[in-house]
């Protein structure tokens, strides 16, 4: 079996195995699930090592007709944009499972749902056939819907339905767009095709391109989520169990930013150029707005959820700056956000397991009783707020410096998000961890267990590694992002503009 196919199939097989476990042994599914999910991780590790840097070509391509009359094929390939996402997914799944020890009802189904989610996510990142991409994109909704709806908190049904309908609405537009493109392809060449490179080669005409861009962009913007389409996210996060939140924030949202880069930039170069003002403005609003709203959230998980809105705004800003640094920053920020926010949700989950509350006001003085936990939290918080030497800085700095030439005011306002991140994270830390523990139930809390440290430690190591040696990813990302930009330049002649002279710009800002 080809490597990429195996990456999609193995989690499905693993899910089936877990479902076949005897119901009388509820302690089995979780460790077995963790064990099985190490397989895709090992494969992803091999993929990462074997992946050739220095080329933008899709690698490990595997292709077979699926439904030939419609031109649909099982068509997988990996490049520098999808590779980091596949590795990230394969990494977060075992951790998300390992942190789900509190799932006591229907454990088999939970583990299976997480594994199916993994299959869908990896499939979506690898798919080079747009129909297949759509199938995976949709298939992801189902396990996620159940993860929120069955193992979630009090308002889980509301959150699950909202999540499902909101994103399904976007999917409908996406499907319409994909079919339209296949039809246009058949009109031009006589045959239907959903293959990425076939559709990218289409000459759509400006109006059609804009409409199709809008359909794709809307679908992905909901997923990101881009302001003002973000309100499903806090609800989904607050209700989702820890493992679900980790994958939701860590990977699922990245389908949106990944889709924007792969499909919007790749298929609609002219429309992408035209859309720069709209998308960068929304991105920057999201950066500031998400951060401002995060400051006053009383619920720790909601705070992290809104911080995601802010951080994902950086990715969209960098993407639509259409500069080398901006786009690289966007891609690596996908990974960075997955790691830091994944870790933050894991951390919130660990304290929720102990206290069954996520309200900031219910805590205080935790650093004294749980010093190791406090250390991990603070470390992750600083990574998240972009402290140099940790990973968050790399992405945000590349995005800001990279987007300045194209959208100077956007970059400057976006930088405010970095200040606000320090406020919402350190204020939350102050209230949860500092002072003397006053509530009796907080005085007796047990610090992290070895298993919990084992879940967090790899992420902490990655935060440091990617902060100091981001080349481990950037060297593989760069050829692909350059190819995307070259393609845009070839088709449209567009190069990110020089801003008006900076002193005028500053006069405008201050005036």
């Amino acid at each position: 079996m080809p490597l990429l196919t195996a990456l999609v199939v193995i989690p499905v097989v693993a899910a089936v195995i877990v479902l076949l476990l005897p119901r009388r042994r509820p302690e089995l599914p979780l460790p077995i699930g963790v064990g099985l999910s190490v397989l895709p991780l090992a494969l992803a590790g091999y993929l990462f090592a074997a992946f050739q840097g220095g080329t933008a070509e899709f690698q490990f391509v595997t292709r077979a007709a699926w439904y030939a009359p419609w031109g649909i094929s099982w068509y997988l390939g990996v490049d520098g944009i999808s590779l980091p996402m596949v590795v990230l997914t394969a990494l977060l799944v075992p951790l998300a499972l390992a942190a789900s020890g509190m799932i006591l009802r229907r454990t088999r189904e939970f583990v299976a749902a997480i594994l199916l989610l993994e299959a869908g996510l990896i499939g979506a990142f690898l798919a080079l056939d747009l129909f297949m991409f759509f199938v995976f994109f949709e298939a992801i909704l189902i396990p996620m819907y159940f993860i929120i709806g069955l193992w979630g908190g009090e308002r889980r049904i509301y959150a699950a339905v909202k999540f499902f309908l909101y994103t399904a609405f976007g999917s409908a537009l996406l499907l319409a767009g994909i079919i339209a493109m296949a039809v246009i392809h058949s009109r031009e060449t006589g045959a239907l095709s959903f293959a990425f490179e076939d559709l990218a080669a289409l000459d759509l005409g400006h109006t059609t391109e804009l409409w199709l861009f809008a359909a794709f962009a809307l679908a992905f913007a909901i997923k990101v989520p881009l302001f003002p389409l973000h309100t499903w996210l806090p609800d989904a996060h607050v209700e989702a169990p820890t493992g679900g939140s980790v994958l939701l924030a860590g990977v699922l949202l990245k389908l949106g930013t990944y889709g924007l880069i792969r499909f919007n930039l790749g298929l609609f170069p002219q429309a992408s150029v035209d859309a720069v003002p709209v998308l960068t403005v929304l991105a920057v609003i999201g950066i500031v707005y998400g951060a401002v709203v995060a400051i006053v959230q009383p619920d720790l998980k909601k705070l992290v959820a809104y911080s995601s809105v802010s951080h994902l705004g950086f990715i969209v800003l960098g993407t639509f700056a259409l500069t080398s640094a901006g786009l690289q920053g966007g891609v690596i920020q996908n990974v960075n956000h997955g790691i830091t926010t994944g870790a933050l949700f894991l951390l919130v989950g660990m304290i929720y397991d102990r206290r069954h509350t996520k309200q900031i006001a219910d805590f205080g003085g935790l650093a004294k009783v749980m010093p190791v936990y406090a250390g991990f939290f603070l470390f992750t918080a600083f990574a998240s707020m972009g402290l140099p030497a940790l990973n968050g800085f790399v992405g945000e700095f590349l995005v800001l410096v990279g987007s300045y030439p194209a959208v100077p005011v956007g970059a400057i306002v976006g930088a405010v998000g970095v200040v606000l991140a320090a406020i919402y994270l350190l204020w939350a830390y102050e209230r949860v961890f500092t002072g003397e523990p006053t509530l009796p139930e907080n005085k007796a809390l047990i610090d992290l267990r070895p298993r919990e440290v084992a879940v967090l430690a790899p992420l902490a190591v990655l935060m440091l590694l990617l902060g100091l040696y981001p080349r481990i990813l950037l060297d593989k990302i760069e050829p692909s992002t350059e190819a995307v930009l070259d393609h845009i330049e070839t088709v449209t002649g567009y190069v990110a503009p020089e801003p008006s002279r900076p002193e005028h710009l500053l006069a405008e800002v201050s005036g």
Binding site: V161, I412, E436
Partner: protein, 630 residues
């Protein structure tokens, strides 16, 4: 040997970093006080290495060297790279030298603290970060050090985090610094946009040809915003007085001798950009002079021994900004060095007093400590005279140099010189007031409550070394600094002191006179009984209250910035996000939601089947595809 020391210069960062890592993982096992000695040794070794590697600069035949350590952000051409030039060497010697003394002192000061090893882990981490800042060969690495010292400052201010005021002070310091860093970051965007590189060498060489005055002004002013945050200048100084919540060695190391001088260093390092914009330089000088005077007036009326020194630090940093703003880069760096000596001395002395008085910080409850703490008394006396600008002590030379350079610039700078002169008077006054209140007169504390005692040797030895530096450092440095730093300031036009010896003598006389007047007045007033000097203070009417309360700037910021900001955030979260944006979504999806609830009924009981069907179907499909695909 010198060659290999320069090749190994990365160890200057590496040694304290290794110390921090070791103490992080094994600190508890290493224990109190060995963790302290280990950290001290790590930084001391870095000092020795730096000293050896600096030798060529002293002999005058030194070449600046770039030591690349590795790629960081290739797309922006950013490397980890060390720039070993005289300015970097000087800063390194101050950081490692004074730092080692303060580490040593802290072994005594922190003895018995339950998180003793953790404290030294942070101190070593701070030293590594600060050295990253001063050794950086490009703006991004400098910025990395810049942010990391902010992190360490946060960790150390809130070291005693169970105290809510300490935790709040740490957060305030970091957030206010980040506000300044916003300016710095935008400056970096402009730098890269203008030069397509962050490397000091190419940026400064090309600044004259690639920057027009407007861009240079923008970059300069934005960097000043960052520098004002880090170096506690108007309007971003408000975090520094609160930072005194940290253990006193932290105040001495981070909030007096090293980190807070980073802004001065940044401006001096970037002189090639600043000098293209008279505007930017003028603003630097004015901010500096204004801060010097403003903070000095506040220091007059403080009663907490550490807060006097905190405002004094802000004021002295103002002098340094005034100097570099007047293009007196060497003078600014000179004062940076002497200030590191005497202010570290004063802080450590204050710590010794607090230590001896078992935690008492209110000077109104001190007095007469001379007999009980002779070493602290003597060394503090030296520090006080040094900061008051009494010849031949260190502060005299550097402060005199600054005032002379500023005066020589003429025009409006003469007004700034006058501000500096008034500040010199105020400085001498408030420092003498502190000295007299603490050490002289009758004890205003109960013998039963306190048993003042001299601090242990591990604390007094650093005091004596720093006192020696505060006495002789100024004159020694004065003799060689200009030629030593020459290679680092090749690209900038420096302002100089007047060449006419008569003018020089007159200026020196004026500043010494101002100092003597301050010392004399304060000694005269505060030698008397408390009721009398309290009367003297009341004589200033409401002004004294304003000074004591720091012009209530914290209250003003709270009312003008913090409270409205919080209100706006709450409005965004609870009046916009939930009702408006989410409300719109929910009303659009109202019908859909109905559907959702009916969906729930459908699910109950059938979920397993549903899930099983789904899994089976999807699985079968995928397997079929995989087989065919393979």
């Amino acid at each position: 040997m010198v060659e290999s020391a320069q090749d190994l210069i990365w160890l200057v960062i590496g040694l304290p970093l290794a110390g921090a890592i070791l103490l992080h993982f094994a600190g508890r096992r290493i224990g109190d006080p060995r963790a302290g000695y280990l950290a001290t040794a790590a930084l001391g070794a870095a000092f020795v290495l730096a000293a050896v590697a600096s030798v060529p600069f002293f002999t005058g035949d030194g070449q600046s060297r770039l030591v690349p350590l590795g790629e960081w952000l290739p797309v922006l051409g950013v490397r980890f790279e060390i720039n070993w030039d005289p300015l970097a060497a000087l800063m390194t010697l101050v950081v490692t030298g004074v730092g080692t003394l303060i580490h040593l002192y802290a072994i005594g000061y922190m003895h018995g603290d339950e998180r003793f090893p953790r404290f030294f882990c942070y101190l070593n981490l701070f030293a590594a970060s600060m050295l990253t800042l001063v050794l950086a060969a490009n703006f991004v690495m400098l910025f990395a050090g810049w942010e990391l010292v902010g992190l360490c400052s946060y960790l150390l201010i809130s070291f005693w985090f169970t105290k809510p005021s300490a935790a709040a002070a740490g957060k305030k310091a970091f957030v206010v610094n980040r506000i300044g860093d916003l300016g710095f970051m935008v400056a970096l965007m402009l730098v890269f946009f203008s030069f397509h590189t962050f490397d000091f060498a190419s940026v400064f060489e090309q600044a004259g040809s690639l920057l027009n005055e407007g861009t240079a002004t923008a970059i300069g002013l934005l960097m000043l915003v960052g520098a004002a945050g880090k170096s506690a200048q108007i309007p971003l100084y408000v975090w520094l007085p609160d930072a005194m919540e940290g253990p006193t060695p932290v105040s001495a190391l981070i909030h007096a001798a090293t980190m807070v001088t980073a802004g001065v260093y940044l401006v001096a390092r970037s002189g090639a950009i600043f000098q293209l914009s008279p505007w930017a330089m003028g603003v630097v000088a004015v901010i500096g002079a204004a801060t010097a005077l403003w903070a000095a007036t506040i220091a007059l009326a403080q009663t907490d021994i550490k807060r006097v020194l905190a405002y004094s630090t802000i004021s002295q940093l103002g002098y340094m900004f005034l100097a570099v703003g007047a293009a007196g880069y060497t003078a600014g760096i000179f004062h940076l060095m002497t200030h590191a000596f005497f202010k570290a001395l004063l802080f450590l002395g204050a710590g010794s007093v607090i230590h001896g008085m078992t935690g008492e910080q209110d000077m109104r409850r001190m007095g007469g400590l001379r007999k009980h703490m002779p070493v602290t008394f003597l060394t503090m006396a030296i520090g006080t005279l040094a900061i008051a600008g009494m010849p031949p002590l260190a502060g005299f030379w550097s402060k005199d140099e600054i005032l002379a350079v500023v005066f020589e610039r003429g025009g409006l700078f003469v007004a700034l010189w006058a501000v500096g002169l008034v500040t010199a008077f105020l400085t001498a006054f408030y420092m003498t007031r502190q000295f007299v209140l603490v050490f002289l007169g009758r004890p205003r504390w109960e013998e039963t409550g306190h048993h003042p005692h001299e601090s242990p040797r591990v604390m007094t030895v650093p005091l004596m070394v720093l006192a020696a530096l505060a006495i002789f450092g100024g004159l020694v440095i004065r003799l060689g600094l200009e030629s030593f730093l020459e290679p680092s300031f090749e690209l900038v036009d420096q302002a100089h002191a007047p060449s006419d010896p008569l003018v020089l003598l007159l200026l020196a006389g004026l500043s010494v006179g101002a100092g003597l007047l301050g010392i004399g007045t304060a000694a005269f007033v505060y030698r008397k009984a408390p009721s009398e000097w309290e009367g003297f203070e009341r004589g200033f009417g409401p002004a004294w209250g304003w000074w004591r309360d720091g012009y209530r700037v914290d209250d003003i910021y709270g009312a003008v910035v913090v409270a409205p900001g919080l209100k706006a955030a709450e409005a965004a979260a609870f009046k916009v996000d939930l009702p408006v944006i989410d409300g719109a979504v929910n009303s659009v999806g109202g019908a859909a939601r109905e559907f959702g609830f009916s969906f729930r009924n459908l699910q109950t009981g059938f979920v397993r089947n549903y899930g099983a069907y789904f899994v089976a179907g999807l699985g079968a499909l995928l397997i079929w595809l995989a087989v065919r695909g393979g």
